[in-house]
């Protein structure tokens, strides 16, 4: 099979730019899409072709399956890269792309379905011999929920089966609280995900979020590109990611990578994906969920492995084998990624849309900036708040952090409030610099 000759990039912002770059490096043409708000964007300028797909709200453009397929058809694209967010984990979109005779640069729809429902994903992980956090079957009524919670022991988390990405999760510390929370959680899950099914999990004390980057091809090869530590979060949204995970025992590192590979093999996975784990203070790890797409923080793994993950995605979609084996993969140094968002950290992280009047990017050895913005662009209120990702690599963790401190001093953004001041404090923080933190550490710091 020859590879795709023209790829429709069904996304926007920095990941659209990232995918277009990978297409060009592979000698493949790219088709950009844009909404009203994104007419003059960087990805539109970088691509060979660009198609207007609708109005600014995502539901009328980047989530419009028909408009995207029409854009692919009118430009004679033969493959679609969904990026992350939007339709990237929508199995109906994956099927629609295949039914239109196009190659989806991602996993088969069946794998998206298996991992998309969190309760099914848990059962699948167990069947693959991957440990999961002790939890319940789906619960429909309060009596069943309370019985399950008693067996697990409080505190527990009420989770939406159809949730993901940190959404649809509510902590509960007593039976009385469960009676309050369960109906609300079910109603919320129904309205947010179209499915009110909930289940319970034991709430681990002070867990770390550690995830494993995977690639899988059509030739039976599944490799992991080590782990990332994404424990620095606010409201379950990642702000800072790094690799390797500090303080992780070599044996744990190896076992967690093997567990992720085992799960990918079990579900017949293809292309790039990430298995997310919670790791407790004894370094026991538990499956949390699998993201069946490229992730925001993929450059961290690229930095320590030297692998271009999006280039590998294109290879795999073309039916070629992954360009290296597990044994050939060498981890070098350490890397950190900072998500710079248009939010005001001094004002409750209030969204801050507006025109970016100054945009001076940092540089130097080991410094990478991924962004879809240019000076003078407007950060529109319609999409997520990300301005840029700053990725810094160093020969060791200390050098990566020091380079990040320097890069943040150079990085100048004016016109919108942003998270650079918070990141400057974070990368200079003694506790973070000296070792691992857990997933509620940042929120405790902010209080």
């Amino acid at each position: 099979m020859t590879g795709p000759g023209r790829v429709l990039v069904a996304n926007r912002g920095e990941i659209a730019v990232r995918i277009i770059r990978a297409c060009h490096a592979a000698g493949v043409e790219a088709v950009a899409v844009y909404s009203d708000a994104d007419k003059n964007s960087r990805w539109v300028q970088l691509a060979e072709h660009a198609v207007h797909i609708g109005a600014s709200p995502a539901s009328k453009s980047y989530l419009d399956v028909d408009a995207l397929l029409e854009a692919a058809s009118s430009t004679h694209a033969d493959a679609v890269h969904p990026g992350y967010g939007f339709l990237s984990e929508n199995s109906r979109f994956a099927r629609a792309v295949q039914d239109a005779g196009l190659v989806l640069i991602g996993p088969p729809a069946s794998a998206i379905e298996l991992m998309g429902d969190k309760a099914t994903a848990r059962a699948t992980a167990q069947a693959a011999g991957v440990p999961v956090v002790p939890g319940s079957a789906p619960v429909t009524d309060l009596a069943a929920a309370q019985a399950a919670a008693d067996e697990l022991g409080y505190p527990v988390l009420v989770k939406a089966a159809a949730g993901g990405g940190g959404r649809g999760i509510r902590p509960v510390s007593s039976a009385a609280e469960l009676a309050d929370v369960l109906p609300a959680a079910q109603a919320e899950a129904r309205s947010a995900f179209g499915d009110g099914t909930s289940y319970l999990e034991r709430a681990l004390p002070r867990p770390r979020h550690i995830e494993v980057q995977l690639l899988a091809d059509d030739h039976g090869n599944v490799v992991h590109l080590f782990e990332r530590d994404c424990s620095v979060q606010r409201r379950r949204q990642k702000l800072l990611e790094e690799a390797p995970a500090p303080g992780l025992h070599e044996e744990t590192r190896q076992r967690i990578g093997e567990a992720a590979v085992r799960l990918a093999r079990h579900v017949g996975y293809r292309n790039a994906g990430t298995v997310e784990f919670l790791v407790d203070e004894d370094q026991c790890f538990y499956f949390m969920e699998m993201n069946t797409r490229i992730q925001v923080e993929h450059p961290v793994s690229e930095a320590i492995s030297g692998v271009d993950l999006v280039a590998e995605q294109l290879r795999i979609a073309a039916g070629k084998p992954i360009s290296f084996t597990q044994d050939e993969l060498v981890r070098t140094g350490a890397a950190i990624e900072l998500r710079i968002n248009a939010e005001d950290p001094d004002n409750g992280f209030a969204p801050s849309p507006g025109e970016v009047t100054a945009f001076d990017l940092p540089g130097g050895p080991g410094v990478r900036v991924d962004t879809g913005l240019a000076r003078g662009d407007r950060i529109s209120p319609f999409y997520d708040s990300m301005i840029a990702k700053l990725i810094c690599w160093g020969a060791d963790r200390d050098q990566a952090y020091s380079r990040a401190e320097q890069a943040l001093r150079e990085f100048r953004i004016e016109g919108v409030a942003n998270t650079i001041p918070l990141h400057s404090r974070l990368v200079g923080n003694d506790k973070l610099r000296s070792g691992p933190v857990h997933t509620t550490w940042l929120e405790e710091q902010l209080e």
Binding site: A192, P351, F382
Partner: protein, 79 residues
């Protein structure tokens, strides 16, 4: 009669979620501080509340419309 304005730019919604009924219908009586609509800004939702008690007149926007900061959202008739 007064007009309630959007304080943020974003996407305008009259319903808490697509499957649910609108917060208020035209002609309904609202109390001060009652939620009338939502504006979605960068995936976060802000409530638009009645600045004073009154009767909801005419909505100036449709569900899912783009809205600018300062733009009128709904007319409210004072009692």
């Amino acid at each position: 009669m007064s007009t309630v304005n959007a304080t943020l730019p974003g996407v305008f919604y009259r319903r808490p979620s697509p499957e649910q009924d609108p917060f208020v219908e035209e002609g309904a009586v609202v109390q001060q501080g009652q939620t009338i609509a939502l504006i979605e800004v960068m995936k976060t939702f802000s409530e638009i509340k009645a600045e004073q008690a009154g009767t909801i007149g005419r909505f100036l926007l449709e569900e899912g419309d783009e809205v600018e900061a300062g733009q009128g959202v709904v007319e409210v008739v004072s009692p």
